[in-house]
Amino acid sequence: MKNRLKVLRAERGWSQQDLAERLEVSRQSVNAIETGRYDPSLPLAFRIADVFGMAIEDIFQRGE
């Protein structure tokens, strides 16, 4: 699954740690999701969408 996490984070000037704190997860988790090594669960994907104020499908797309 592809995602726009890194771009969205950069647009807001957030570091991985900043996003991790907003999501209440570890920085490792944010890094793993950003780099595509880990696909988040649906509840975490909803939390990510809420943090960016966007729909899940605007952040995550099908594909490698």
Binding site: Q17, V25, S26
Partner: protein
């Protein structure tokens, strides 16, 4: 070794707090049993009780590891821990199965069953390396 942010997770701190006294209990109980009970002693109540005492610590370790998986609220870190457990289980099954066959067909010494848990724990270290290589993160470093 740098642990990143995982070390800050309260579940890891609780895990370490639980494992330390249990490890001391294990070492102490082994020393006590070795001191008081001769090897291959008759199975009287005292010998059985002293021999089982370290087993209580092992049961405590297993409980502490189960609690870690339950209490770890960061799903990615939990995945890393589960991967380590799976690698450790695979290593243990492989070593015990292959060694068991060697025991049947050769005169190699028997693998004492109490070594299975330490073997599994060494498998956790292999799992940590696998995580490090494939994920670039190892999970808990306690």
């Amino acid at each position: 070794m740098s642990c990143g942010t995982s070390v800050k997770n309260p579940a890891y701190r609780r895990y370490t707090r639980r494992m330390m006294p249990l490890s001391l209990l294990y070492v102490g109980a082994i020393m006590l049993a070795s001191w008081l009970v001769p090897d291959r002693d008759q199975a009287n109540a005292t010998a059985i009780a002293l021999a089982l005492l370290p087993g209580l610590a092992v049961l405590g370790w297993i409980w502490a590891m189960a609690r870690l998986l339950i209490e770890l609220d960061d799903e990615y870190l939990r995945v890393l821990e589960v991967r380590k457990f799976l690698v450790a289980t695979g290593v243990t099954l492989a070593v015990c199965s292959v060694w068991g066959l060697l025991e049947i067909y050769t005169d190699l010494p028997r693998l004492p069953v109490f070594l299975v848990f330490p073997l599994w724990a060494m498998g956790l270290f292999v799992g940590m390396l696998v995580n490090r290589i494939t994920q670039g993160a190892s999970g808990n470093c306690a």
